[in-house]
């Protein structure tokens, strides 16, 4: 097990590379899901406002 963690002396390099990969992939997952949820919430808000006859306050594009 310790030999596995040591990676023949390259531990710092191999594990930091894999670690950064995990972080980047994870961050992308989080960002994509958050983006979807945010857009759903915004669509809900705008639909509620429209149904009640009021104009949406800020028309944001991006």
């Amino acid at each position: 097990m310790s030999e596995f963690l040591q990676m023949g002396g390259y531990a710092a390099y191999v594990w930091s590379a894999y670690g950064i990969t995990l972080i980047v992939l994870g961050a992308n997952i989080w960002a994509a899901f958050r983006n979807h949820a945010k857009m759903l919430a915004r669509a809900q808000r705008e639909n509620r406002l429209e149904r009640s006859g009021r104009q949406p306050m800020v028309k944001q594009i991006t």
Partner: protein
């Protein structure tokens, strides 16, 4: 004809939204399995390299990242071009979704490449390497696309102007690659070491292929999620969105 009709449906936001929603979980599970298998194969099963020892295992995250960065750019540029020529909003939506993912993969490729380079070739970075410069250019192109989009208030204008930038960038990638290669072969001698092996053995190659496939499906998964968000953002006032929301809130 079934295929032609399906193609037309791809331009329809509610169809694509539903399709993306259905595909996403499958992609997620498949990607997860592939990535776990590939990582296990790469870290544990693959034999150690006779030159680089265990250090070469970085290849299993570096190469897939680099490959995905280029795939993402091609998808972004192609769909932006399609959207520009045929005025299909869905295509622009796909390009927008691909951009942040592509930029992340590019950054990851550069960083993991640098980490790999330090112990192997003595340096985190090498200006004379054509592949490094092409990858760096790719990062700037992604950043430029996203920044240019953000500068426009009108979404359609943003779509079309940044599509031009994306296409101009495609032309430049091979140009940069070959000009640096030409330049470096003139100045640098054989001091730029490459992965100098006669061939890569099957037991080292298999985890790599699995990881590449895993990364690709991971990309497809998040592309679906981002595309859904993008569609909602563009179509928030459409009837079908209203019905969709009523379905979830009820």
């Amino acid at each position: 004809m079934g295929l032609v009709r399906w193609f037309h449906q791809l331009a329809s936001p509610p169809y694509v939204y539903r399709l993306a929603g259905q595909l996403a979980p499958w992609f997620a599970v498949t990607a997860g399995l592939l990535l776990l298998t590939g990582a296990y194969g790469g870290l544990v099963l693959a034999p150690e390299d006779y030159l680089q020892g265990d250090g070469f295992r970085i290849i299993y995250v570096h190469v897939p990242s680099a490959y995905l960065s280029m795939l993402a750019y091609m998808i972004m540029a192609t769909s932006a071009a399609v959207g520009f020529v045929w005025r299909i909003k869905m295509a622009h939506g796909l390009a927008v979704s691909a951009a942040p993912l592509g930029a992340s993969f590019t950054l990851l490729a550069l960083v993991t490449g640098g980490i790999w380079g330090k112990p192997m070739w003595g340096t985190y970075w090498q200006w004379a390497d054509a592949r490094l410069m092409s990858e760096l250019l790719l990062l700037f192109l992604f950043a430029g696309y996203m920044v240019l989009r953000a500068s426009f208030d009108d979404r359609e204008k943003a779509d079309r102007v940044s599509a031009i930038l994306a296409v101009v960038g495609v032309i430049n990638i091979p140009i940069i690659h070959y000009s640096v290669e030409w330049w470096s072969t003139l100045h640098q001698g054989p001091t730029i070491a490459k992965l100098d092996q006669p061939s890569i053995t099957m037991d080292m190659l298999t985890p790599l292929l699995v990881m590449i496939l895993g990364f690709t499906i991971f990309f497809a998964w998040l592309l679906c999620k981002r595309l859904q968000g993008e569609i909602l953002s563009r179509e928030s006032h459409a009837r079908w969105v209203e019905q969709l929301l009523e379905g979830t809130t009820r």
